[in-house]
Each structure stands twice: as structure tokens, then as C-alpha cells.
Assembly symmetry: C2
Homo-oligomer: 421 residues x 2
């Protein structure tokens, strides 16, 4: 099978999740983030063409129209099978000053290389991060590591809106304990410029001085090409695919941040821009486009991040999500220990469980705690995936040794309290 891959940028197959650690300097070299360069792909028989932007997909003629950005010419490439992996674009609010120098999004490797150069050659003193989600928090750590003062602005009443309020409050505590000025319930209204560069970020009520502004408002599936080609776009605003990653058009597949995913707990289609899903989906789309048979099993909303020593993780549905779906749920918050109670250096982990009030099925879990706490979300994800109930969770044979946890794993302890209350 002849495989041609068009990429409008310079880099292929890089670890976007690693960009905050490249910005912070823990990853010293941008090349380390590149899993496979264009040449490596070529050696494996993939005809990678960088600086080539696909402008149009013609499903009638089975061709794509491509602009060679270097040669500035247009070519047409026929296909039998097509895989669309256009990803997502960062949300950039249409506010005054958004294009000022010093206003960045963290999305592409090329962009991160530029931002890091700026951090190193002309170190900013004060940064405003707009959006206190995963990227915002990871970039905050990176900037703090460089000694930059950080203000975070979020429109919600808590950071990490994918967590429920109590977990969000723990994240807020962690951010503030490291000196972050956290501004909540605040929507940005503009970027204030001085000589074309950012000098402050404005909200309705205040101005926050900054010589660097990071926009971390999430991403939007990039579906322009797919929509123009007439492919079905789902209600969640991304390309609609089945579990074979097949779009509405025979022989056309899509994978990654540009597609809708089936959420196994909510039973709805949604968009979740994560490398774990994109990686699996790309494999499935490729296998199927090549005549094989692969299947993507869907998602349950698992995610994890850390802010210095605080680990933050979630899976399944939050209370907020359960409410929005009209699910009757019960929930419990439990503060557990990360070692047996008699061991030295006690650290706590806070677990929140959400369960169906009728079936007692575990719908979701959130964990915020010290080093190592986040890993509990993995078995909780397996529990949600397998539709375990609270009594099932209490029964589960999890191992124990005093330095690595209490006899009752905190989330099991939470389950038995919720179960018996």
C-alpha cells in the first residue's frame, strides 16, 4: 500500500503532552519530543510531505487538493483510502490585543520552540495564564520553575472544571501554595498592549500586569476540511466516526482530536483531546484503512496531571456531569492516607467517588493528593470501565504493604462508607 502523509507544519509525530516540560526546561531539547521525524517515517515507507497543507477533500473525485507551502503551488493527489487527522486548534478568544507580541498558545512544537526562546532570551517577569485547566496548570509549573510570577485567570469558580468543587478547591490550594495568584469567576476582556507587546490582561473588573500571556482555553476540533467535504459532523462538533474510525463516507477514516468519541459511561458522543485516545484511534484507523479490522472501544474520561508534588486525576463522570445527564447519583469524599497510619511521613490523598444511586455502579472518581496519589485513578478507571458496583469495589483483592498504602485502599474505604451509609 502506498502511503502519503501531508503535514502543513515542519514536525511529525511529536509528543504534544511534553510541551510544558520543554517550556520548563526539564526536557532540554525539542528533538527529544519528536517520536518520529519525517525522515524516520520515510525510512518506514511513508511518503511524508511536510509544509504541505491540504486545502480540499474531493470525495466525488477521490482526490485531495494540496498546497505546497514552500513551492507555493497546488497539486492534486488521488486516494483510495483517506485518513483525516487534522487535530484541534486552540481556542483564541476574539478580544482586543489577542495578536500582540507575547501572547501565546501552547499547542504546536514550533510554537513552543518560539516561546521557549522568548523565555530564555528575554525572560518575562510576570505571566498571566488564561484558563486553569490541564495545560494552564502544567504551564504554570513550567513558568514558576523559571522564577516567573504567575497569575491564572479562569471564568469558573474553580480551577480544573472537569473536577467537582471539593477537588477543584484542593487544586486551588496547591496553586496558591506555590505563589500563583488565582483569579476565579473572571472573564478576560482584552489584552492591553504597549508598543505592540502585551503589558496587561484585562477582565471586566481589573487589569493584571503581564509581559507574557498564555491562552490555555482548550481546543476545538479542526473540522473545516471534513465539513467542506460533506462528511458528517456530530453534535459535539467533531467528525462523526463509528468504532472502526470510519466516517460517513466509505473508505474515509478519521482519528485524533478531530473526531467524536463514544463515552462509555454517559453513552453519549463527546470530544476529548488526549494523546492516549488519538494514539489508539490512529492505529485503528490505519489498520482498517489497510483492510484489516480494528476497533476503538470508546473512552471513560480518564485524565491525570500534576502540579509540582500534587497529583490530580479523574475518570468517568463527575457529579456535575452526572447531574447534567440527569443521572441519580450518590457521592462521597474521603480523605485517606498514602501509607499505613503508623508509618512516618504521613501524606493524604482525597478521593471522591460518584455512583449510580440505584445500581450502585461506580460512575466516576477523582483523586487529588501527594506524590503517588494519582496512580489510584488507574484501578478506578478499570473499575468504571468494567462497570463495577461499590460492593464489587469493596470486594476487590488489592494488595497492601504498610509503606505504600493503608490496609484499606482509600477509594475502597470510601466505597464501603458510601455503600453502608
Amino acid at each position: 500500500m502506498e502511503v502519503i502523509a501531508f503535514e502543513r507544519g515542519t514536525h511529525t509525530s511529536y509528543a504534544a503532552c511534553g510541551l510544558p516540560y520543554f517550556l520548563g526546561g526539564e526536557v532540554s531539547d525539542a528533538d527529544a519530543l519528536v517520536v518520529r521525524s519525517p525522515d524516520e517515517h520515510r525510512r518506514r515507507g511513508i511518503d511524508v510531505r511536510i509544509h504541505h497543507e491540504v486545502e480540499l477533500i474531493d470525495l466525488e473525485q477521490r482526490v485531495v487538493r494540496v498546497r505546497d507551502l514552500d513551492g507555493n503551488q497546488t497539486l492534486r493527489e488521488p486516494f483510495d483510502q483517506l485518513v483525516i487527522a487534522t487535530g484541534a486548534e486552540p481556542v483564541r478568544p476574539k478580544i482586543p490585543g489577542i495578536d500582540a507580541t507575547g501572547v501565546h498558545v501552547v499547542k504546536t512544537l514550533a510554537g513552543a520552540i518560539g516561546l521557549r526562546r522568548a523565555l530564555e532570551t528575554d525572560p518575562p517577569r510576570r505571566a498571566v495564564i488564561v484558563g486553569a485547566g490541564y495545560i494552564g496548570i502544567e504551564v504554570a509549573e513550567a513558568l514558576l520553575r523559571r522564577g516567573i510570577d504567575v497569575t491564572m485567570i479562569d471564568r469558573a469558580e474553580q480551577p480544573m472544571i472537569t473536577l467537582d468543587a471539593p477537588s477543584g478547591a484542593l487544586v486551588a490550594d496547591a496553586l496558591r501554595s506555590r505563589g500563583v495568584e488565582l483569579v476565579l469567576n473572571a472573564e478576560i476582556s482584552g489584552i492591553i498592549e504597549r508598543s505592540g507587546a502585551v503589558s496587561a490582561v484585562a477582565t471586566a473588573h481589573s487589569e493584571y500586569p503581564a509581559d507574557l500571556a498564555i491562552i490555555g482555553l482548550g481546543v476545538r476540533p479542526e473540522v473545516g476540511l471534513a465539513r467542506a467535504a460533506g462528511l458528517r459532523i456530530g453534535d459535539a462538533g467533531a467528525i462523526s466516526v463509528d468504532d472502526h474510525m470510519a466516517t460517513s463516507e466509505e473508505g474515509v477514516y478519521a482519528a485524533g482530536d478531530c473526531v467524536e468519541v463514544f463515552h462509555r459511561v454517559s453513552r453519549r458522543y463527546t470530544t476529548i483531546a488526549l494523546g492516549t485516545h488519538a494514539n489508539k484511534q490512529g492505529q485503528v484507523a490505519g489498520v482498517n484503512a489497510a483492510g484489516g479490522s480494528g476497533r476503538f472501544a470508546g473512552v471513560i474520561g480518564s485524565a491525570i496531571t500534576k502540579f509540582f508534588e500534587t497529583e490530580i486525576a479523574r475518570t468517568g463522570l463527575s457529579r456535575r456531569e452526572a447531574e447534567a445527564l440527569g443521572v441519580e447519583y450518590t457521592s462521597i469524599r474521603h480523605v485517606g492516607s498514602m501509607s499505613a497510619g503508623y508509618m512516618p511521613n504521613q501524606q493524604t490523598t482525597t478521593v471522591e467517588l460518584v455512583a449510580d444511586a440505584n445500581s450502585q455502579r461506580l460512575l466516576g472518581a477523582q483523586v487529588v493528593g501527594g506524590s503517588g496519589a494519582g496512580s489510584a485513578i488507574k484501578w478506578l478507571a478499570a473499575a468504571v470501565w468494567n462497570e463495577m458496583t461499590l460492593p464489587d469495589i469493596v470486594d476487590l483483592d488489592l494488595p497492601y504493604v504498610p509503606p505504600l498504602g493503608p490496609l484499606w485502599e482509600p477509594a475502597q474505604d470510601a466505597a464501603r462508607r458510601l455503600n453502608w451509609s
Copy 2:
């Protein structure tokens, strides 16, 4: 309900798993290991009688005959419901010198208090630990922390026989890297005494000088009372109970190390002396004895320990166990990273998966790795418990952030390699 509890020793409800950390000094005070003292139980309405040894259970008359060890008199106590929680006794080989001063088992709090006093008042220089299982390894760390030279002798060709050979070899490496002299394929033949105290431990081929000998050869269910009473003892040598922890006699329950447990993967009854099971079983037995309805769901052989920074964990069946059961299995060993490949301070974790060759169901897993590695066994235990297949495991939505793991969780990576090989 009137509840009377007889205990021949002094302590009740203490954390036996914490004894090695008390010996090492990380837990400074023995009282810290006591979850509930006799008085605390009494305040909750349980008539605890320490220094009372039950000598006979008379099922015909529904009475127990008890010796008051302090008053040295015998009393008879009638019962309507009986719970037997006699635990297990450490294996003490019948070899010359086994009763010499300086030969210890680590089983009871009272024994550990005596041993620690000896460690502190007359610190030994060289210790031989007989048996390189969980207790042996944890006690080795405790003694090394006190600056004592440690030799470990095990009859098997590897330490931790509950692991397969490659994982066992990693444990051997960890032991040796901390200076342990590890003597394998060696059976002890006697304790050599000088003036009534241990001076060496002898095998068929050699003698190992020691002023302290720890016997860590595991435990045997203590079923003497139950057997004499006519209760059914199972093939595994422990009290036979159903999933309500009910013995063969109406109104008589048993729980803890003295009972057989149902292994959900092997579908056989076995004995596994672990606090996690005992704790759950005790609760179930108590609930049922009190007229409620509780159920113990069985075990899957999950266990974890650590030796300094090395974490060692297992769940389900090892290859050795699968073989013994006549199960056709496939297995894969995979060395993974504990963070994304481009992050600094790379640490490895070695995963071994065992799967049914026909159904691809995950039968078991073993993990040996650096700090944090062991926690993966928890989601693998959930996978075994829920009878997930290798493809299911590859599908599982586990979260990812670069500092806390690679994009493909090592065991998922192993599963897809095994799955596609």
C-alpha cells in the same frame, strides 16, 4: 448481642504487617501498631479477655473450654454463634538448635517487641534470614537499616517464589545491590550454638556465621481447635468455609489466616495469609454471626512488598501456577519506563503478563520496578478480577501525563505486544 473474645496473648487487633517497620525503627513505638487495644474493644462493648486460651470447642454442648493463663484455671463459656479466628503459626523447622537464643520468627507483636529490644540492647553484627519471601525481604531491609550484615538462605533457585524466575531475578539483584549475601538452592540443616546462643546457620554444604537468625518460612493455618472440634478442614489444610465464612457446622464461622479462600482465577481453594483478606473476612463472619448477610468474594493472589526503593508486586496466577494447573498460557515480559521517554531521571519497571492462550484472558501479572512501579498491580488486579482479555486491556482508558508515565502504560504496551505477536 453479647460478644466475648478470647485472646491467649496480650495484644488485640494489631497491624502484623507493620512488624518489619517496627523492627527497623521507622515505627518507633509498638503501641502505634495497635489498632484497638483490649480496653478500646471493651468500650465498644466487646468483652475481650486476654491471656485466655481456648483449649476446646464442644460443638455438641455449644461451649468453649478456656484456660485463664493468669489465674491458671479453666472455665466453660457457652455460645450461640462462634467465630474462629485462630490465625496461623509460623513454620519452625525441626532442626537442631532451633530453640537457641537469637533464633526468632516475626509473627506476633510481643515477639517483635522482644526482638527489637535485643536489636537495640545487644546489636547483632551478622544476621541470617532463612526464607526469602515477603517477611524475609522486609526484615532484611529492617536489619540493613540498622547496619547489620544480612545473609538470606532460601531453598528455591530464586527469592520470592510467588514470582516467576525473571521477576525473582530482579528481586535477587535488588537484594544483592544492598549487600545481602543471597544463598539460593540451599536448605538449612541446623542452628549452630555457642553457649546456648546461635553462632551460625548450617546448610548441607556450608555454615553462615550469625548472632541472629530469623526464620521466615511462612505460616501454617492454626486449625488444631477446629479439627479437634470436628469442623471440616479442606485439602489446603485450613478450615473449610463458604462465601459467608460459615464452617461445616451451623452457627460456627471462621475468618483470617486459619481458613481456606476461594481463588477466583484458579477456581481452587487455597491458603493466603494476608491482612487484607483477614480484615474483609472478619467483617463478613461478624455480620453473618450477628444475623446479617455478608459475603466474601474470594481472592486473586494480589500481593505487594518493597525492598528499599524496589517495589515488587503480583496478582493472579504466575506462569508456575498456571503450569501446575495445566492451563495453556502465553506470557510476555516487558521493560517499560516510569515516565515519558524524554523526561529526565528515567526509571524502569518490568512487567510480566500471563494470559490464557485460548481466550486471551489475563490470568496474572507481576511488576518489579522503582518507586511507584508497584501501584500498577492495582489496575492489573482489577483487570484480572474482571476477567479482562489482552485486547480489553489495550482498549482500557488509562490516563497519562509525561512525568508520571509513558503514553502507553507499560502493562498495556506488554498486552498489545503479546496480543499481536
